[in-house]
């Protein structure tokens, strides 16, 4: 095997380890968001903290493509609040 093969392998490993770690963070964040949603739903008139959207970190937005998970319900809550509804 040539030198370049080892070089490519080393950098591939670096990227793979970092991507696996970032994916694991994204999964844990998603699972936590589901839990927050469940708590909010269990509370009549309660809502999950909105900073989950404002605070959702940029990498996760890239991973999920269309904005962080949980964004749609939060938007809906804000819209509903604007209409005077209670969620």
């Amino acid at each position: 095997m040539g030198d370049l093969w080892y070089l490519a392998l080393a950098y591939a490993v670096i990227w793979a380890v970092l991507l696996v770690y970032l994916y694991s963070i994204a999964r844990r964040q998603e699972s936590l968001r589901r839990e927050m949603k469940a708590i909010a739903e269990a509370l009549e008139g309660g809502s999950a903290p909105e900073e989950e959207v404002e605070d959702a970190e940029p990498f996760l937005r890239l991973v999920h493509g269309k904005g962080a998970p949980g964004e749609e319900p939060a938007r809906a809550r804000r819209a509903a609040r604007g209409r005077g509804d209670s969620l």
């Binding site: 030198d3 490993v13 670096i14 844990r28 936590l32 970190e57 940029p58």
Partner: protein
Amino acid sequence: MRAVAGPSNLSLGGAGSRLQRALLAATLAVGLLALYMAFVYAPKEATMGDVQRIFYFHVGAAWTALLAFFVVFVGGLAYLRTRDRRWDALALSSAEIGVVFTTITLATGSIWAKPAWGAWWTWDPRLTTTSVLWLIYVSYLILRGAIDEPERRASFAAVVGIVGFVDVPIVFLSIRLWRTIHPVLVKSQGFDMEPPMVHALLAALLACTLLYAYLLLVRTSLERRRLEVEAARQALGFHQG
């Protein structure tokens, strides 16, 4: 730092998000520059050839791992002094990232060792002490998973994080204290390499440090939110799902 009291005092809010975005942008920019410098700007090493280019991010990852474990040490001490769980969250986040960077260090070192030394692994002092370091902090993470009671878990973890840090100076000094085949990078006269190689190394060190800062911010924010959910569950009498 204040004690965990409720959801509102844990969030970084919009400022935290802006800091995350700024750090991500800086990490990507410096990371691309460091890759350019490692692959194009730095000259080919005379003896080892192109495979020596592994060196820049191998050392960058090693430096970041040691920095991460220093933060675990500081977080552990601060937790034992204040009993504020946010210090524990910081230590846990840093330990996890430290293990990730130590894994990268060991893996890239092993891949580099094959063409350079003719073997994937050798029980050299630097390699052995780094493996022990990896095992200590993997045990730290396993220990946390094995204790249910949060205060006890945080206290035990803080002690392991502090005691485990003893291995960090041993890793650093291992190539000076014992006979080794691992190269000594910094000598009394300074860096033992060409100036463009030093520049590429410094760029890789900066890129890895920025990546660490970004990951620490993201991971700590996740852990703090987990504490919020845990507090909310306890307050509402929910059982863990």
